[in-house]
């Protein structure tokens, strides 16, 4: 009951925020937080089936470029771009997924790693189509939205709400249970007749849909997309949001995405120290809370000091 109340309060606070402050900077930070949280949440869908993706930024990029290109070259309505972006990312996931999800998880990581690299190189090189290193500029705003940042803020919140709702329901549904089963006991799941490859690809596709949709949103918000927005390092940052928040529970990526995005902004005034502080933060969390920020609640008593010379395979 108190959790429901907490969620309602948080939602109310977020919704009412623009009435209190219309500082575009903080609205921007919150919109970016919503983006990062959603990316981390969708990455977690894959983690639920036991695989880690190192190419999430590229999937977002697929959506972003698809929508940006359609809007700037073909004059399509940007609203249309969001589902198109999602669909494009989905198509990539289907192809890549069926090729690589038949194998052990670690290889999937590497395939996504390679894919991200290929995506970056192609976007960077194919100047005639993708605009090359400086990317696509002059991407139109979403038409019909009132001017200013506040409408984007509400749109971002709405999308975030949708993301959370859909992913939570999925996780709790029949499909979600199968995903966990595959993660924990793949062979057994197969013995029961579950087509594990199909469900793994389904997870990949689900994560891709959200990555692509948010990519399109990003394109029409920033109005500029460039290959450097979607590098392997960006994919690693998405992993960070998930891991630092806590990959084991649903709320982990939400915590991680929001916390890391906001902390980055708070420490910005330290100038060149930003990287150092951020790095120290990552290290501290991993040293004391390897399960992520969510394990703060589980109690500091659960911090274990592993004595050496015990076999830990």
């Amino acid at each position: 009951m108190s959790r429901r109340l907490g969620i309602l309060l948080a939602a109310a606070a977020l919704l009412g925020l623009p009435a209190v402050t219309t500082d575009p900077y903080w609205l921007h930070v919150l919109i970016m937080s919503a983006l990062n949280v959603s990316l981390a949440l969708s990455l977690r869908v894959l983690w639920n089936v036991g695989v880690l993706s190192c190419g999430h930024a590229a999937l977002m990029g697929v959506g972003a470029y698809a929508s940006a290109l359609l809007a700037t070259r073909a004059g399509t309505n940007p609203w249309f771009g969001i589902p198109v972006g999602a669909a494009a990312a989905m198509a990539v996931a289907v192809g890549l997924g069926y090729l690589s999800l038949r194998l052990r998880g670690i290889y999937f990581v590497l395939v996504t790693f390679a894919f991200n690299e290929v995506f970056f190189l192609v976007m960077n090189r194919w100047r005639d189509v993708t605009g090359g290193p400086s990317g696509i500029i002059g991407i139109p705003r979403l038409p019909g939205l009132p001017p200013g940042r506040v409408p984007y803020y509400y749109l971002g919140l709405a999308l975030l709400g949708l993301t959370i709702f859909v992913l939570r329901r999925l996780e709790r549904s029949h499909v979600g249970r199968i995903w966990f089963a595959i993660r924990d006991a793949d062979l057994r799941a197969q013995c029961v007749g579950i087509n594990t490859v199909f469900y793994r690809v389904l997870a990949f596709v689900t994560s891709a849909v959200f990555a692509g949709a948010w990519g399109a949103f990003y394109a029409h918000y920033q109005r500029v997309v460039a290959p450097t927005d979607f590098t392997i390092w960006q994919s690693v940052y998405v992993q960070l949001y998930m891991i630092v928040g806590g990959a084991a529970v649903f709320v982990g990526p939400i915590l991680g995405g929001a916390a890391l995005t906001i902390v980055t902004e708070l420490i910005r005034a330290t100038g060149p120290l930003v990287s150092v502080i951020y790095g120290l933060l990552l290290m501290s969390v991993m040293l004391f809370l390897p399960g992520g920020l969510v394990s703060l609640r589980a109690g500091l008593a659960s911090v274990r000091w592993r004595p050496s010379s015990k076999p830990t395979a």
Partner: protein
């Protein structure tokens, strides 16, 4: 003819460099099953330490080089004890930990570095020309030293007790413990050897480079590609992977350009992963 010879020579040089760093990464990945992003940072620190000892303090290149390698090896032990020991076996947290280390170390390095890149005076100046191809003496030394190091590592892993202990842990940690092998000892050894290899690579290459805190990034990325290509945990695989990538860069880089070469490497990597996921020469140390 001269062109092809030059391409071949270029390929060998590039390969040797990449292989040395990749071997360091591979040991840690194969044994500890963790990705150590800080490998590139160690490469950079080794080069910068060499600079300080050689140019600022004035020590002879060989002495400075040896000291630098020792410093980095010790650093490896310290890191293992302080940061990685606790996270043994936990893939995700060690990933984040190594990333944090990279940010902190490189961040501090940049804060203290000026805006002018540094350089080490050449140790083996001069160029050797044969049959129309040319190679600087410095690079010939790199090839020779690199090959010796690789052979040395091979012998170490194959023939010495310590090397066999490492292989045992890699294959089956519990079984190894049952045999009386101390896991902590092996872990320490692996970190030390890995960092030593990387530091040696840096010390060898440093006279040919302009030094600043960003030089570790490319060897790290290439190293990752190579060990995946060759098969994680496999020394021969790393060798093969390194030479494939090195020659791809040389051949494709010459006939097209380095960007296309990277693209080809990445696509080749994807293909290997999809069709032969364990790598080209898996599990053969």
């Amino acid at each position: 003819m001269a062109l092809y010879l030059q391409i071949a020579v270029n390929g060998v040089v590039i390969s040797c460099l990449y292989v040395l760093v990749a071997l360091g990464l591979n040991l840690i990945l194969g044994i500890m099953h963790i990705v150590n992003f800080a490998q590139g940072t160690m490469y950079m620190l080794a080069a910068l330490t060499l600079f300080v000892l050689n140019v600022v303090v004035g020590l002879n290149y060989f002495v400075a080089g040896l000291l630098s390698v020792m410093v980095i090896a010790v650093l490896g032990l310290v890191m293992e004890r302080l940061f990685f020991r606790r996270l043994r076996g936990q893939f995700l947290p060690s990933l984040v930990m190594s990333l944090g280390l990279v940010l902190v170390i490189e961040g501090i390095a940049w804060m203290n570095f000026g805006i002018v890149a540094q350089a080490i005076p050449p140790v083996f100046p001069g160029v050797v020309r044969f049959l129309g191809a040319s190679v600087s003496r410095e690079r010939l030394v790199i090839i020779a030293a690199g090959l010796i190091l690789i052979a040395g590592l091979f012998l170490f892993i194959r023939s010495t007790r310590a090397g066999k202990a490492i292989r045992a842990v890699e294959q089956d940690p519990e079984g190894a413990v049952l045999q009386g092998i101390d896991l902590d000892d092996v872990t320490r050894l692996v970190f030390m050897v890995s960092f030593t290899l990387t530091a040696l690579a840096a010390v060898l290459v440093a006279p040919t480079l302009a030094l600043d805190p960003s030089i570790g990034e490319t060897p790290l990325l290439k190293g990752l590609v190579i060990i995946v290509l060759g098969g994680m945990g496999s020394v021969t695989g790393t060798l093969l992977g390194g030479f494939i990538i090195g020659f791809t860069e040389s051949i494709v880089g010459t006939f097209y350009d380095p960007v296309v070469a990277s693209l080809v490497s990445a696509l080749f990597l994807m293909a290997v992963l999809i069709f032969k996921p364990s790598g080209l020469l898996p599990y053969r140390m």
